[in-house]
Symmetry: C3
Subunit: 669 residues, 3 copies
């Protein structure tokens, strides 16, 4: 895009009375220049099987075009009409919980030919109507697509064929998945049992991978149809979302974002996060870094919160802070879900920019200022290019495997990912995300690897090679423990990376209440509580590695807890335990210093967050965010520049004061 997009999801179909003109007037007032439509209303546009009515779509397109507002059209396939389920109940996904029920969205079997037939028809009908409309800038394909746990007999059959294609023989499967255990062998393809009852984590994780593959297939299939109509200036995108813990939290378990994003033109994302006193910017940064990494380019925030829930209603200033936080991570679009609060049904309390009364409210009025600033500063802020020296390696395979083999206390993969990411965020370390399959490791000076539990030898060898050739790697506990079929390696742990890490262990335990860290990084006098070990401790025995920390433990004090090994031209740091975030910060800081990554931005830390990049004119743009209710003061360490929101000039080493929930955007001259 050549200018910043400021958008809303717009549902003219849901309105209690005709408001189109008034809504457009209010959008213009707020600087909204883009709307997303149509992705949720299949039954409006095909009220009966084969009866189509796109006049509500055309009406909105025409009105938006007249007002100069762009439209992204969504294919309406994620929420199926009642008539389809009444005619063909078997389009509902059968899951481990049994038969499905009509009512919610995202309940269908995305592999079912009946569903696919109707989906293709509505897409083609819709595209035929909209693709040449001048208001349409692009298409959102489906909505927050996942596999919806589909696992019925037809899906099981497909899985058997997938297994035969992938592994060739049952003998290979019996061996690699350990099916002799508990009499689970399969010695005839016809005997292949449903995965719904399996207790074999290797099979379970493989089935999860297969299910993620269904999402890739489904999205690629839809893109193929839409591409037949798409005009040159139009794009396809998708609103990927994350593990949901009441808000966007971590790696999406049901979708391989990297693979699924490949056929799209532009990566898009939904980001929802805690607010009020709990607004930290972490999820905005996490989601932005992830989405930017998918195609290594700028991205769309297709949905984020306006007023949303009662516990998220933003404090004055927070809506602004959030919008510019997205830009600082590389977003070129910030769009709210949604324009108006809905008067019926499930999401009545997931409020939009407007309340149910459609009257100007404080949040909507704050959006005015954002819209105005986006418009005024678009040329300087659009297309921010970011170059990260640090990457966090994440893996759907590790996630699925740890889902089966949870850490004590129910700790799962994303807990570890966030444990590490959040400390980097608080230190103002810019990150990309990469997958184990990445061959671009050398683009980074440091790679942080949270619990890479299930992974192939090849991927680990690439990491060893990366270190040998001068890279720095930080592994957490449980990395490398199993192969890609979640079969525990039978070599000394941590398996293949043992070579680069120069450390091994043969046993591990849940730490008791008094377990802690001691040694080089945690000298006598370390603040109480900081060095506590919890959840997990591996009893590390170094070969060549240096011991950075040992366990402070009555029985296991002889073992190392954190080590670093110089291997070739690089270093591999291994963290054998889950420790307090403050202890992790000590370890990461030391590693960053060794890697030469401790710079000016690291003099500042959360709640003062810094993000930067280079704009299309080659200027370095630096965002400073204050995620707190108190003002903060800091010394600006870079060359003279201009603070864009105020227009004030800023001198090197000038003392700056940032208000509560405030933002500076400094363009270095």
């Amino acid at each position: 895009m050549d200018h910043l997009l400021y958008g809303v999801a717009y549902y003219d179909e849901y309105m209690p009375y005709d408001r189109l003109d008034e809504d457009i007037r209010m959008m213009q007032e707020a600087g909204i220049n883009t709307v997303r439509i149509a992705e949720s209303t299949w039954s409006t546009h095909e009220p009966q099987n084969g009866v189509f009515n796109f006049s509500p779509v055309i009406r909105v397109l025409d009105a938006m075009h007249a007002a100069g507002i762009h439209v992204i059209v969504g294919t309406p396939t994620y929420a199926i009409p009642a008539w389809m389920v009444k005619e063909h109940p078997d389009v509902l996904a059968v899951t481990a919980k049994g038969e499905g029920k009509y009512g919610a969205r995202q309940i269908m079997d995305i592999t079912h030919p009946v569903y696919l037939f109707y989906a293709e028809r509505i897409i083609r009908k819709l595209m035929a109507v909209v693709h040449r409309h001048p208001a349409v800038i692009g298409y959102q394909i489906d909505n927050e697509t996942k596999h919806y746990e589909t696992a019925g007999p037809n899906v099981q059959l497909k899985f058997v064929k997938y297994m035969r294609e992938t592994y060739g023989t049952l003998e290979a499967i019996n061996h690699q998945f350990g099916l002799d255990y508990w009499s689970n062998r399969i010695d005839s393809w016809e005997d292949f049992p449903s995965m719904v009852g399996t207790i074999n984590g290797s099979l379970g994780a493989e089935f999860a991978r297969f299910q993620r593959g269904l999402v890739n297939e489904f999205l690629a299939w839809q893109i193929g149809i839409v591409n037949e109509y798409k005009q040159p200036q139009q794009f396809t995108t998708h609103n990927f979302d994350f593990e949901w813990r009441g808000h966007s939290f971590g790696v999406q378990p049901s979708v391989d974002h990297f693979a699924a994003a490949a056929p799209f033109d532009i990566a898009g994302v939904d980001i929802y996060h805690p607010s009020q006193d709990n607004l930290t910017g972490t999820e905005i940064s996490f989601g932005g870094d992830m989405t930017r990494s998918l195609k290594q380019d700028n991205y769309f925030v297709l949905e984020t919160q306006a007023q949303a829930f009662p516990e998220w209603t933003p404090y004055p200033g927070q809506l602004r802070l959030q919008a510019f936080s997205h830009l600082g991570s590389g977003a070129s679009m910030v769009a709210y879900w949604h324009w108006h609060s809905i008067h019926n049904s499930f999401e009545t309390y997931w409020k939009g920019l407007l309340s149910h009364d459609f009257l100007p409210n404080p949040v909507y009025k704050e959006a005015w200022t954002i819209g105005a600033d986006f418009k005024r500063l678009s040329d300087q802020l659009i297309g921010l290019k970011k170059t990260s020296k640090v990457a966090v390696m994440v893996s759907n395979e590790a996630l699925s495997a740890i889902e089966w083999f949870k850490l004590p206390g129910g700790v799962i993969y994303n807990d570890v990912v966030r444990w590490m990411y959040d400390e980097l965020y608080k230190m103002n370390i810019a990150c990309d995300f990469i997958q184990p399959s990445s061959t671009r490791l050398n683009d980074y000076e440091l790679i942080v690897v949270p619990s890479l539990y299930a992974v192939s030898d090849e991927a680990l060898q690439r990491l060893n090679e990366y270190v040998r050739s001068g890279g720095h790697a930080v592994y957490s506990f449980k990395s490398g423990f199993t192969d890609e079929q979640v079969k525990v390696r039978h070599t000394a742990q941590p398996g293949v990376i043992h070579e680069a890490c120069g450390v091994a262990y043969s046993h591990f335990a849940t730490p008791n209440a008094s377990a802690g860290l001691t040694g080089k990084l945690f000298p006598e006098g370390t603040e109480a509580g900081v060095h506590t070990v919890r959840t997990w401790m591996e009893m590390l025995v170094p070969d060549s590695a240096e011991v950075l920390a040992s366990y402070d433990h009555p029985q296991w004090g002889e073992y190392a807890a954190v080590t670093r090994n110089t291997f070739g031209d690089g270093t591999a740091t291994y963290i054998g335990c889950m420790a307090e975030p403050a202890a992790l910060a000590v370890i990461l800081r030391d590693t960053l210093q060794v890697a030469g990554l401790w710079g000016e931005d690291q003099q500042l830390s959360f709640p003062l967050i810094v993000k930067s990049g280079v704009n299309r004119h080659g200027s370095t743009i630096r965002y400073y965010y204050n995620y707190s209710a108190e003002s903060v003061t800091f010394q600006y360490p870079y060359g003279a520049g201009q603070e864009l929101l105020s227009g004030n000039l800023v001198a090197h080493a000038e003392e700056l004061k940032l208000d509560a929930w405030g933002i500076f955007i400094i363009s270095e001259s």
Copy 2:
């Protein structure tokens, strides 16, 4: 009735050996003058399909008659025999959880013709046998009737017809229920999906209303049959019960008590409540006020606890306190569930007046004193007429709607009802309950309205008119927010009552930990903790209303929290937040004073509770209850009278001392 009834449920069928004569002897000793029988033992009286044996009923009727004990006969239709389910498994209610299983009571589809056929037959056979028996004073129709979540295909079909009859067209339904949302439109009657899967709160609440209608139909149908046999001096009644939270708690979600009670002769109720250190009398008062309001007359307590559960075993004196508490609310019958503790099955630990050993025990011995006092004072205590100046407006519709749209922390409708009712109770404010459909608003000087969330324009306009003509109304947060189909109003909130309340709001939030109240009613120096806001806060902006309290909050301190508006000749107080009970007490006290309702009884407060009424001889009877383990002293403020239990004369302004768990009953001369 012309005398107080003191009763027990009696199950001769459950006895381990023949005890009828001995039981009657012990009943007589305790002053029991009424028993309820037969409602639980269909399978005893029809052991096989079409084989009837009412001799156990006749035997009890004859023996009771001989002993001068009245009998209420229950129709045995709430617990179905095994043979019926074996022959016709589809009489079991199909619910959202799936097919039913035989074993418990209250598991059948009350709309199913097979069940209705057998129910009618057993009722007619039983009535034919008992209706001319001189022991029989009346009939309990079924038992704690509800709809048992019946929601199978036949019920869904009935619902579709109900919807067509109610709303006429699908276009009206699609619009009013917001079915464009998530592609939920229904454009052909045949496509109407089962409500079991719906995510649309408007549809869900409508289905709940429809299910409550099934209860009304079922009870009216049974009454019709019984009325064919009922003799002139006999009555029909029913033991309504309440939302159950381990004890009677609030408005019954599954039954519209007012509508269901209409065809009965006398309203009846089951009241169970915490005991021992947690005996407060609140549930006795709540349940009594509700049941008295159903027919605006005296009522029966058909079931209440004797020994009951181990955690309820009454302290010495509590059984007496409870019995007279029922009378003070207007009961003309107090009956225990049940005479003897049961030796097998589900309710073995729900103990009766007698323990399993049938021996005289301390609780049974305390009942002797109650029986004697009831007999001695019957003429003065029977038929107490109560006139309340305050009404609490409750609504099944609001309850169902809030079930779908819970407040933060899972707070639901009855939490708000009890939040308000309990403070009135503690202030000794006598209350009736009314529904929004009531046209008798002007009978009251103050109407208290807890979260009247789903309600028609007409009902709200009646409330506006009530205020205009001199009434006083107190609304809590969320009142008026949606219409009767749970569609959020798109006018300024709180919708229609905005006019009388003179206040509006466009946003709301979950309060953070430090949110509080300040301003007129909460001046500097208010005790810490008293003014804390929790769960919910609406950002009120007064038009014409006076601000009684504002928020003490770092971001939202500009908004009002509690307002009062003079409108016509009355006032409307609007409470925009859920606050500590102590804060609510401050607001209610202020409102009662404005309404001129702060009288002598309000000088006393919980644990000293006062209730009063006028007896059949025109004397004012005042009950004073001490719900505590400490004696309390107070000055008697009314005219000279006699304390009926002791016979002592009481002078105006006399200092009285009430023992722990004690009762005074003063008849003003």
Copy 3:
């Protein structure tokens, strides 16, 4: 056996590569002289219906034999192959939760003829191959057999026939089970409803008894087959297990261990317990006492933990302490589950003696010392005979009944059993377990009876007689309350034992927060907290009994809480409430002193545990265990002897110091 067995479960089938020779070498190094094989791998040995391959079994037998390692062969019937379920889905047990799913073990209907057909065939095929092999010392029949909640239509039909056989007539059943209640009568055998939906605790408990009977039948049937092949020197055994609360906890709800053990040659058991800071030895003692009692003989620990879970990874020294703890309770075999940690599937983190890397690790190395000591001391330690003067009476019937009628707070039978057992353990009181049907009561000087809730008159009369003839009995609350059909006795409670206890009660309650004990055993000055009553209090009124403690309670202070009655030549102590363990210890200590059972070992207490017995040479062997991380010192009170582990001589009255987690084994000369 004529020597101590030190064993592991061994799964050659699960190995990622051929390790048999290396495993045997490492076993020999550690002194492992026994392996258990084959019980989990039906699908390996019958990969397709009727296709058999026992070569992996033979290969292991041959190799073990060559190495001088014994083999116990398990019948592989507890985990069924996929092909069987694919061919005959109805072999899966139908339970209250519905149809089963293939995947886990122990999911089949153990009464189903299809399953029994295949089970018999694989057993016979396996036995034919192994029974003459010289390595085979015995057979484990199935594995941790239970009924798996099987409750499908065929099982229900079987239950009806069982009921008719047991009770004769429906009239008897209706009366004894109280089926008039809630219209549950059954007046035709065809109408007998499934027990899956029953709300009648008497029926429910009877069904549980019936299900336990299925286990007995199934095991006896298998033993019958195996016995056709078993050679004279071979044995049958079974690994019984316990109520599982994350570890072995209490009486097994699903199996009557005494009845099920009868047809076996040697009793066996699985014992798993907390470790690290939570290692107390209690479960080792409990499980050992129970299993020794089954056949009043030495027993096998067929499974116990090696490294097991991360929270159990033993501290240095704990594996030794555990091994000798088993011997002190009378075990003649200690075997680990399992040799090697598994690389795939469900129990990957239930680690064996070897980690996944197969390398020598600290736990494996500790096993070396155990193996060596077992070998060296076998002659002195094998066949320890133990004579207990105290028995704890336990009952599956009481357990099932209390499952239906839980104590307040969800307290169930095993909570009470462990409440009592654990105090005896901490006092170093050696115990046997007996059932109410035991006729050997006079073998004991004291019988401790936890909540014997459901029990026949006959059994209670035997207990009365036991006391009359000089025995001492201690009953907890709720003993004797119902008969064996869980029908509450209608005499004064505690029913039949009222006679011996000389105390009665007619009501009971949940104690409030301040309830406590006072009186003779709890004089003024008793440490705060020690005498707190919780969960349950019966209001005891003594006839002839002495009051040992009364309630300290504002309302119920008049009632006794603990009483003792001299009856004939013995005493019966009745504890009417659940109190703090420390209060129970006071009561038990007093009772033990009265019974003359307070000896030298009672001068010591947990964490210093003493166990003893007489070896085959007539020497008294005394084990001293230190279950703590601190060393402890004590005076040895017995005659001079030798500490066998060190070879040191020990003099009478010598001061001995036992290291953290240490063991002494003293053989008195």
